[in-house]
């Protein structure tokens, strides 16, 4: 099992290496092109250019391989095969790749895995590492990183950090999957800070979106909305959503995870 520090070290090492290699290759190409204007007897510098091309092809092949590993890890995580995903992610983090985006993706996959294992501080550390780069991180990676960071900080009880991570997302155009994730984390966050009126804004749309989530998330979001409806005097909505939650999940389990929700079942 790869440790978080080890993963971050691999990530930084590969980024430095790939920057140096790219610069070296660029410089080499420039130098070889310039050599064409210098009389060199029988030697043709174009041959050197072909050698550089071959080096580039080998590195590109490794990058494609890394990209495949990262994609496979994502689908293993999605299907809940965490042990296999862990092995795959470790391989992809240890293998060298020229692409920053593939390396970031692998680190983010590790963050998703640690989140599933409820190792929140590890997730936060990994997300912060991915987000620390100002340039070169693809937008989808940075959006997922922010969502994961907000999620882990919320679990750790760091409400200020959660707010900051969420605030960074409002300037981005989100995909449906990202919007659903944001709704889940935001609902939980607003319930923690007791912003019941804000929670009830666009209630109908939030409920419709929650319907497309997997059962545990659909139940949790609707339970939080039910609590907000109850606290703001929307009794009809509170009862409707509470009954839905009862059909979607085990209430004992849900309230064990979020004790604030007990209020919905109190007489």
């Amino acid at each position: 099992m790869i440790s978080v520090n080890e993963a971050i070290t691999c990530f930084r090492r590969d980024l430095t290496m790939s920057t140096l290699l790219k610069a070296g290759l660029g410089f080499g190409v420039g130098l070889i092109l310039a050599l064409h204007f210098v009389p060199m007897g029988k030697f043709d510098p174009t041959i050197l250019l072909m050698v550089l091309g071959a080096v580039w092809l080998v590195l590109w092949y490794r990058t494609v391989k890394g990209s495949r590993l990262a994609a496979e890890s994502s689908s293993l995580l999605a299907s809940g095969r965490l042990d296999q995903a862990e092995v795959q992610i470790e391989q992809s983090l240890r293998a060298f790749s020229m692409s920053r985006s593939i390396k970031s993706m692998s680190l983010l996959n590790l963050a998703v895995l640690r989140l599933a294992q409820k190792r929140w501080p590890d997730t936060a550390l990994l997300c912060r590492e991915v987000l620390s780069a100002k340039k070169g991180t693809p937008e989808h990676v940075s959006k997922s990183g922010r969502l994961l960071l907000a999620d882990s900080l919320l679990e750790m009880g760091d409400l200020r950090g959660t707010h900051e991570a969420l605030a960074g997302l409002y300037n981005h155009r989100l995909t449906l999957a990202e919007a659903l994730n944001l709704l889940r984390v935001q609902t939980d966050y607003l319930a923690r800070i007791g912003a019941w009126e804000s929670l009830c804004q666009g209630l109908q749309t939030k409920v419709e979106l929650a319907e497309t989530m997997p059962a545990p998330n659909a139940a949790k979001v609707q339970a939080m909305l039910a609590l907000a409806a109850r606290r703001t005097g929307r009794a009809e909505w509170a009862s409707y959503l509470r009954r839905r939650v009862e059909l979607l999940t085990d209430v004992q389990e849900l309230t064990g995870e979020r004790p604030i929700l007990w209020e919905l079942w109190e007489k």
Binding site: V29, L33, H36, K42, D44, T46, I47, L49, M50, S75, S79, T175, L176, C200, G202, L203, Q204, E211, T212, M213, P214, A215, P216, A218, R234, E236, W237, Y240, R243, R244, L247, L248, T249, D250
Partner: protein
């Protein structure tokens, strides 16, 4: 001669037209020719000093052309692939949001021409099968699903979900012998699947075995609830029909109320036409007025 316009979501046409185009072979020939030219001219220049003065700048220009050409070609290919991926993601979202008309129109356009990659085509065909089932074009949906199961390599979870969809479509088409075969196959691989249980419940309701349907609901409900999310409404609705067939009206009314609490009655009846009598007999759960949310 004018071309006959194809029908909306014409499956044989879309399966044929969406085959990815093979990579242009001329690009490989051109690169091979350039490499051959450089090697031959370098060798020739080695034999003749005067020729060297001509060959070196020429080789330089050719190499520069190859580098620029390859960069432009690669960037164009990546851009087109990204566009295709974005269209596919849009279809996925439309299917998830149940905007079937828009999803169908996008799939019709996407699959009417060769896709950039086989994986994108595969994904689009999976969405196409869902859209066709939604339009109750089950024979077409089965054709797409059979094509995918015979020709595509998918991970076990995707294969299982496709087989469940196919079994459901076969049941809608009343192909009971094939349904039994499909269910046996599913039971062998994933006996605890909620999708499998849902198809079994529907088969029992459809073929007049309500007691068996109720047995499955009672024994498998917690697992189905965890796996199906809001689609567990289908289970409650089919249970309501099973109770109704057994004249256990109170239980039928309660199950129908649970079902309509999670999903609108019209949507459930559209999915399973056998549920239509329930709408006339029992009261659906009342949803809060939309204005109240404002």
């Amino acid at each position: 001669m004018s071309e006959t316009p194809t029908a909306f979501l014409d499956v044989p046409h879309l399966l044929e037209a969406s085959q990815p185009r093979p990579r242009p072979i001329w690009a490989w020939y051109a690169m091979l020719a350039a490499a051959l030219f450089i090697l031959t001219s370098t060798w020739a220049a080695g034999q003749n000093k005067q020729l060297q003065n001509v060959v070196q700048p020429l080789g330089f220009l050719l190499m520069l052309g190859v580098i620029i050409g390859m960069s432009v070609f690669a960037s164009h290919a990546v851009k087109q692939q990204r566009q295709e991926q974005q269209r596919l993601e849009a279809v996925e979202e439309l299917v998830q949001l149940r905007r079937w008309d828009q999803a169908g129109a996008m799939l019709d356009a996407l699959l009417a021409q060769p896709t950039r990659s086989g994986a994108a085509r595969l994904q689009a065909l999976i969405y196409l099968a869902s859209v066709l089932a939604r339009y109750h074009r089950f024979a077409d949906a089965i054709a797409v699903q059979n094509y995918l199961l015979e020709n595509a390599r998918m991970d076990p979870a995707a294969t299982h979900s496709l087989k469940v969809m196919r079994a459901m479509a076969l049941l809608h088409e009343d192909q009971l012998f094939d349904v039994d075969k499909a269910l046996s196959d599913l039971r062998r691989v994933a006996p605890d699947s909620a999708g499998l249980a849902l198809v079994e419940i529907y088969r029992d309701v459809k073929t007049g075995h309500p007691a068996e349907a109720i047995d499955i609901v009672q024994s498998r409900l917690p697992a189905m609830r965890a796996q199906l999310g809001h689609r567990v409404a289908d289970v409650h609705a089919l249970a309501a029909r099973a109770y109704d067939l057994l004249d256990r009206d109170a239980e039928a009314a309660a199950a129908y109320e649970r079902a309509t609490l999670l999903s609108p009655a019209e949507e459930l009846i559209r999915r399973y036409p056998e549920l239509a009598p329930l709408g006339e007999k029992y009261t659906p759960a009342a949803a809060p007025a939309k204005e109240a949310a404002a």
